[in-house]
């Protein structure tokens, strides 16, 4: 992640060097160049952050499209509230835990609250003096760093929404989202991106197959387990009844938006422009993997179900995107072909396996984000090369597996406990009656498509 900034670091050192030699007057050209570099980097980080923000629209459409029309208001409301909750949580404390300097390797302990730690961004490297030194490799202002990391944190929380859809109480989901983004996500994030113990170990996850997607996936899986399946999904005679989504148009549009958003998610993770080669390489590995995921899931579904199932094509695209998220900057484009292909096959088999295990995930969130997140993180060790733009040593498979396991056990165990506590504290699942009627009426007293009814107002 750091090599690309050698250019800007050099530029800064260069300007400092001239200043030192020339004693009094700094070189105005070098100063302007540095300012330009910071401006350009900041612009890219913010635009990339906006693209990632737009992924909220993608998630809202995919999830509501894959679910029944009677739960649309609920899913849309959840997708809005989760970003709002994430913004507050991450601003209030999440950022501090994740990127604040910590002495223990497990969580940040300085500059915890409201982004108030000392900071002299955009200074980089040794010139940086402040609380958030784990982010000293990118030469952008603190607020740009925060915004970009915030939209990542919110993505992890949004993943949960789909897996628990059509049966979770609105307030339970909201409380869980606050805690996930305030505490759970930042702690494991600190291990990897905040200079914690996994970073020390050499664990590599460029844009978050594990840090973002698997964490969201583990939290989603624990939620789906504690909640139990939707009524009528797994029948007493052993049959699995498909509960059809109400709008494949929404789901397809949402997936395209997510695909677009990923062009911010992965290349944006350089948090700078560099000489352009790094972000160009990553946008291509990302796109290739998504395309291969779509193709591979199509073929897999065609073989298994005898039809090219659109739902699986969409899941396969997302699988390819999640799979390439960790290795996108450390692998070649031919490797991206393989990573995407494997993701597309894995996701179809995973959806079928979760169904066999009677774990009900209405939108396939655990298959996409957890299973392919793990695969992508493993792929770093298999296909990684030190010559690639990431410019880091390729970690061993053991190192990658250590990270996957540690983050998985931590996130799954605490999430499971949290869901369970919420269940004890008044229940996380709506009543059977409300589930049949739809959460739109039960939770919100409203409908998404009221014009489809013959009605008499009064």
């Amino acid at each position: 992640m750091k090599t690309i900034f050698r250019f800007s670091v050099l530029l800064l050192l260069f300007s400092h060097g001239i200043w030192a030699e020339g004693e009094a007057s700094p070189d105005p050209v070098a100063e302007k160049l540095t300012a330009l570099q910071v401006g350009l980097d900041t612009l890219w980080v913010l635009v990339a952050g906006m693209l990632v923000f737009f992924m909220n629209a993608g998630f809202a459409l995919v999830e509501s499209g894959f679910c029944q029309s009677k739960n649309t208001v609920n899913i849309l409301a959840k997708n809005f509230i989760v970003f709002a909750a994430s913004t507050f949580s991450f601003y209030a404390i999440g950022w501090g835990i994740m990127f604040g300097t910590g002495s223990n390797g497990y969580f940040g302990s300085e500059g915890l609250f409201f982004l108030q730690g000392a900071d002299n961004s955009p200074a980089v490297g040794d010139a940086y003096q402040g609380t958030y030194s784990s982010m000293n490799w990118t030469g952008v202002p603190l607020e740009a760093k925060f915004f970009f990391q915030l939209v990542f944190a919110a993505t992890a929380a949004t993943i949960v929404s789909g897996a628990v859809a059509e049966r979770i109480k609105f307030h339970s989901f909201t409380i869980f989202s606050f805690i996930l983004v305030a505490v759970l996500y930042p702690i494991t994030g600190h291990w990897v991106w905040g200079g914690g113990w996994l970073a020390e170990l050499g664990f590599h996850d460029f844009a978050g197959s594990t840090v973002v997607h698997s964490v969201g996936g583990w939290a989603a899986l624990s939620g789906a387990l504690v909640l139990g399946p939707r009524k009528g999904k797994f029948l007493a005679n052993g049959h699995i009844k498909p509960i059809l989504g109400h709008s494949m148009t929404s789901a397809a549009l949402g997936t395209l938006i997510l695909w677009l958003g990923w062009f911010g998610f992965n290349p944006g993770s350089f948090m700078g422009v560099g000489d352009g080669a790094g972000i160009a390489h990553v946008i291509l590995t990302t796109n290739i993997s998504a395309a291969m995921g779509a193709l591979a899931s199509t073929v897999t579904a065609w073989i298994i179900f005898k039809k090219p199932d659109l739902g699986m094509i969409l899941n396969g695209t997302l699988a390819g995107l999640v799979g390439i998220t960790a290795p996108c900057a450390i692998v070649s484009t031919p490797s991206a072909v393989i990573i995407g292909t494997v993701s597309g096959i894995l996701v179809v088999l995973s959806v079928l396996t979760f169904d066999k295990l009677k774990i009900d995930d209405p939108v396939g969130a655990t298959s996409v984000h957890l299973v392919c997140g793990i695969w992508g993180t493993v792929a770093v060790a298999i296909f990684g090369s030190a010559d690639m733009p990431a410019g880091v040593d390729v970690p061993s498979l053991v190192t990658q597996l250590t990270g996957i396991l540690a983050i998985g056990v931590f996130t799954f165990a605490i999430s499971f406990a949290l869901w369970f506590l919420l269940k004890l504290a008044g229940g996380i699942r709506v009543s059977d009656e409300e589930e049949v009627m739809g959460l739109d009426l039960g939770e919100h007293g409203a409908e998404a498509y009221p014009d489809f009814n013959i009605r008499a107002h009064g």
């Binding site: 009528g232 007293g445 409203a446 409908e447 013959i454 009605r455 107002h457």
Partner: protein, 114 residues
Amino acid sequence: MKMIIAIIQPHKLEEVKAELTKNEIYRLTVSDVQGYGQQKGKTEVFRGHEYTVNLLRKVRLEIAVNEEFVKPTVDAILKAAKTGEGKIGDGKIFIMPMEEVIRIRTGEKGKNAI
């Protein structure tokens, strides 16, 4: 010949269909309908303002049967459409005499056309 019309809860349709099939009743017309009875309506909210929707969604079944199938059909619907929680809203079954049935393809009439 009788025409059996039943109004049931939408989420009971699958169970009713399965129960009818089990009793060898293979002909069925289904439509989405709305109406109200004892359940009255429900209150909804749009941007802060409450309003009452007094039409509820139901499913309407139409089954044309010969005399000997009246009882099995009614029993199947009763068995499968009842939510069994003593709550109102499970619907009703109406049975009415039917004068004639004509199969369009062959022009057959009466008992054989059902």
